[in-house]
Amino acid sequence: MLRDIFITPFVDMWTAPDFLMQVLWEGLVSGILYALIALGFVLIFRSSRIFNFAQGIMVVFAALTLVGLYAMGVPAWICVILTLGVMFLLAVAIERVVLRPLVGQPDIILFMATIGVTLFLIGFGEIIFGGENKVMITEELGIPTDSYLLEPFGGLLILEQKDITAVAVAAMLVVGLLVFLNRTRMGRAIRALGDDHQAALSVGISLQTIWVLVWFIAGIIALVTGIAWGARAGVSFALEVIAYKALPVLMLGGLESIAGAIIGGLMIGMLEKLFEIYWGQPLLGGNTETWFAFVLALIVLLFRPQGLFGERIIERV
């Protein structure tokens, strides 16, 4: 038993390095997607202290809108632009209808409100687009669907081009976001709002505008995530489940940290794949991916209550 836990997995890794690399690559790709969802959470949490549970359904909703518009015969690139428009309208609607009347309420109330939004969007999406699994319009968007075959250590490593595209786009998105947050007026306003609401308001930053903006950015991130994940697994409401995966990423990385979200996402993506392949399937009957990330984050949090990169929690009476 001990041998199975402590020796066999490592021997397996050593003897089949190409398989190990494949596992790590798969983990990296899903990790990127977790990180993207977590990024949406972090942006909204930083600027409004709202724990936005609806991020997962926004991913589904964006992907469904895109596929749905294409099915109506709209050219692919116009679909993307129209979907962005829909996400903007969604951001405005959420700010107007849900957030504005709830300003200043306790965190848990706002959190519940986002769950309400989630339910609404699930029902709305099912009525408009139907619940069946759809195929993402990967090729129509110009995303290559071939795969590279590499042969490290005499083994075989399959890198799908759409995964590489996803990684590249995600990296571009993150860099763009960082530039936006650090170098532009709007970006600085978002960060100012995150640091201190009242101080930001007193220097003339409009809370409403920034909230719409932040939710819109979260919508853009949702669309990118939706395209990337949809290309791998198809578009359905099951995608919503990956939103839960972003939660341990947030715990691990810290609720306020953008770097934390990315590093946490990659770590969780790779570690859960490793655990599933080398420990979960042989020893525990598989499907450990549902809980491994949470347990890992829980253990890390026991030692660092604010996550790996979160702001230090200072408590005063």
Binding site: M251, A297, Q306, R316
Partner: protein
């Protein structure tokens, strides 16, 4: 006019602190209990028992358990369904290993198993707070549901992977399983729920309840005035999980009749959380009001289009339901963030001084 406090003088602190300082409240409760114990069972149809009365009581109980943890002790939990599952599976194992056991006793004992597991998952709360803790409780949620699926011993190696409630009797009267009548099941649920409500009301009014409230309002300050945070938080986890576990056992044994692991998945957790929040965090009455709304609403929504003669497929109705429930949650949070309980309190105050505005 009926609701007057005039003439009800309090001459001691004890009288002022009594459960019903206003006589009309006790009277009102009497009427509700009379309805619940005598009038509903006499008039209700099978449909009413199975879709309204029994589930409302069970969901209220589960929400009450969660409310103790989240509303009174301030520890946000998203793992309620998993603890309900622990109660249900513990109960199932007990009645299948010891078939001679009194099933009502088994239901009450099964709560202790979930209390134990609740304490184990509550330990991180000593270091982790707020949303971090909420996500940590999701660890319990996902891990336990996975365990229900993979640990075949729990469901006695059934091929289906589900637990099936056997016919169980107390002194010859079937209380659960396919042979039990709805009325018997209802009475079992009602008695257990009433008993636990009574316990909860008094717990939250007493020393322990005040310790919890102090912890909720500011745990560092509570620690400084000499409250043992570890004891306060862990008792909250234990008692909350006990109640939730009993609710889970009732959920399967007195209502569903069978359960698959994914029944205890995260939507159930959220449903219970909705009830607790819409009813009002930090209140006992609120759980009942919330449960009536959340359980009753879909039933009403299912009946309405049929009654109006609007032809809608059942799938559309279901999706419309989800949409309406979602928007109603937002709506209720906006009009009264403190829940239906606060709404009732407001109505009561208005009634007392009616017809004067102040």
């Amino acid at each position: 006019m009926l609701y007057r406090t005039v003439g009800q003088f309090k001459t001691s602190y004890q009288a002022d602190q009594a459960l019903f300082p206003v006589r009309q409240d006790a009277f009102l409760l009497g009427i509700i209990l009379l309805c619940a114990f005598v009038i509903f069972p006499l008039t209700a149809s099978e449909f009413t028992f199975q879709t309204l009365l029994i589930p409302i009581l069970i969901y209220s109980l589960a929400a009450m358990g969660l409310n103790i943890l989240t509303g009174y002790a301030g520890q946000l939990s998203l793992g309620t369904a998993a603890f309900m599952g622990v109660g249900a599976y513990a109960c199932y194992k007990m009645v299948t290993i010891m078939p001679w056991m009194n099933p009502i006793l088994a239901v009450l004992l099964s709560g202790f198993f979930s209390a134990g597991i609740g304490v184990a998952f509550g330990i991180p709360s000593l270091r982790i707070k707020g949303f971090y803790l909420a996500i940590a409780t999701l660890a319990a949620q996902f891990f336990l549901v996975w365990l229900f699926e993979k640990w075949a011993w729990l469901y006695n190696y059934n091929a289906s992977g589900a637990i099936q409630v056997p016919n169980l009797d107390v002194f010859g009267l079937y209380v659960s399983g396919p042979l039990a009548s709805s009325m018997t099941q209802y009475y079992v649920v009602l008695i257990i729920v009433s008993l636990l409500t009574w316990v909860c009301i008094n717990l939250t009014r007493g020393n322990l309840g005040r310790t919890w409230k102090a912890t909720r309002d500011m745990d560092i300050a509570a620690e400084l005035i000499g409250i043992n945070l570890m004891r306060s938080k862990l008792t909250a986890f234990a008692i909350s999980s006990y109640i939730v576990g009993v609710a889970g056992a009732l959920f399967v044994f007195q209502w569903r009749g069978a359960a698959e692991p994914n029944l205890f998945d995260i939507p159930l957790s959220f449903q219970v959380l909705f009830i607790a929040i819409i009813g009002g965090l930090g209140s006992i009455l609120g759980n009942y009001l919330g449960a009536i709304l959340i359980v009753g609403l879909p039933v009403v929504l299912n009946i309405v289009p049929e009654a109006l003669g609007i032809p809608l497929s059942s799938a559309t109705v279901e999706h419309l339901n989800i949409m309406i429930v979602g928007s109603l949650i937002v709506f209720f949070l906006i009009i009264e963030p403190h829940g239906l309980n606060a709404l009732w309190r407001l109505i009561r105050e208005k009634l007392i001084i009616w017809p004067f505005p102040h």
